[in-house]
Amino acid sequence: MTARRATVSAVAAVLAAALLVILLVTWAASIGPSGVLRGDGIEANRSAQPSASLSTPTGTERVSDRDRVAQSRPDGANPVIRTIAFLVEIATACLVLYLLFRLAGWLRQVYDARRRRDPRAEEVDFEVIDAPAAVAREVRGGADEQRLLLQTGGMPGDAIIACWHRFETQAEAAGMSRRPAETSSEFTLRILGLIDADRGAVTRLGRLYREARFSGHEMTEADRAAAVEALDLLHRGLMVASGRGRS
């Protein structure tokens, strides 16, 4: 038995035991103390009641004993006992309801926690089957514009960042958007991996982007030139792959 199953069994056993105790208390409260202690049962007490009061016209002590027995019955002979029994029943019912309520809350919490962790319950991010082809088409289609952006887009650092960001917009145009918890590098490397872009070129471009975006270094024209070279290599690879695909 696994530890998990053992704990479930233990909880089930405790719940069953608690339910049994509650049932016993309810039963005991409903028949009254005399019934529980003597075990005569309600019917026996009921049949004995008339004879006890009628058959002893002169024996006062005997009558008072039987009266006490009668008063302890829950059938209306003693209103105090009956009221107490009624209150115990109400309290027990409330307790059962409260426990059931807590149990339901706990089960719901456990269910929610499991659901949160169940990958099947999470929203599935579908990738369209021809998404790589669409992304490749967008990247190829925007190649000239992207190159121009890199060459003339202001300071080298800004141009490199804008060029890298262009991959994201191209992927979005092809129907693939970046998840909020995904870093730009993770997303872009993912989509460029999908279209089998040149790994070396992607790595160099990614390194330049990260340096431009997060390092605070002053990027130089040499960095821009290196980025242009990597971008050209990437685009050339895609064009060749596209040509092979057509032939």
Binding site: R4, T7, V8, V11, W106, Q109, V110, D112, A113, R114, R116, R117, M155, G157, D158, I161, A162, W164, H165, E168, R178, P180, A181, E182, T183, S184, S185, E186, R210, E211, R213, F214, S215, G216, H217
Partner: protein, 328 residues
Amino acid sequence: MQTSGQMSVADASALAGRVLDEVEKAVIGKREALMLVLAAVLAKGHVLLEDFPGLGKTLAARSFADALGLDFARAQFTPDLLPADLTGSFLYDQRKGEFEFRRGPLFTGLLLADEINRTPPKTQSALLEAMQERQVTVEGETFKLPAPFHVLATANPIEYEGTYPLPEAQLDRFLLRVSFGYPTSDEEYGVLARRLARRQEEVDLDRVTDAEGVLAMQAAVEGVRVDESVGRYCVALAAATRPHPDVLTGSSPRGSLGLVLAGRAFALLRGRDYVIPEDVKVVARSVLAHRITVKPELWMTEASGRRVVDAVLGEVPTPSTLEAPGRR
């Protein structure tokens, strides 16, 4: 052996790489976990190694001490260990007629606190205080611990009988909690093959640097840049653990600070003088998971600090691709 007062990030990274290569001669196939341990040392932090017995925790600690050229001491944390056994105590010298302080195992460069959860809270507190303050006070007299001073504590995640689990406030003092995990079959065979090849039990490692070198690498880490967007990402990650439905107590601000510090050291190990969000993601589990207390009513589920961190990493938005306008 390389020691230097002033060290560039590139030099520090190369030196750290050599340290890792040396340690990996003894601890096979656990490069990523070893990188995390070294990142914690370079970030001036302490590490809790939590794993099953026999997975190389003690070996890793000793190997790091050898490769880093630090003094090494091992304290076995038993139920009868007293604070004075760690800190040291005053003993009466009859020849001189005066009390002199005899230093305990805390006065070292790298302390292996073995099975830290087997000693009572009083002794745990003495160690954790020394970790935080980097000094000990005995009989009203304060003694500075040497620099660098790092603790690699081990704990066994099973066999809780007769143990004293560290409270959350004390777990918070460890920068990282790292697990090595079981090796793959190839890695395990590598352990056997190397043992057979060297014909002895002990692994002789070369000293790659010394205490001065470690201090220089730590100084180099201080020069690693953290962009504001990355810093805010760290804060958002730590903050996101607090309202998580499975969590009773989320990470303290020490968690976000730990993310930045460990992220910087990890960036240096990767040869960069700036932190990227991916560095933060790599260290996040080890930095945050032990700072999270899961709700006790979820004891039957598989909820854990580690899962909460995974969930948070999958939810918190990362820094934007473009820089915030006007920042450059």
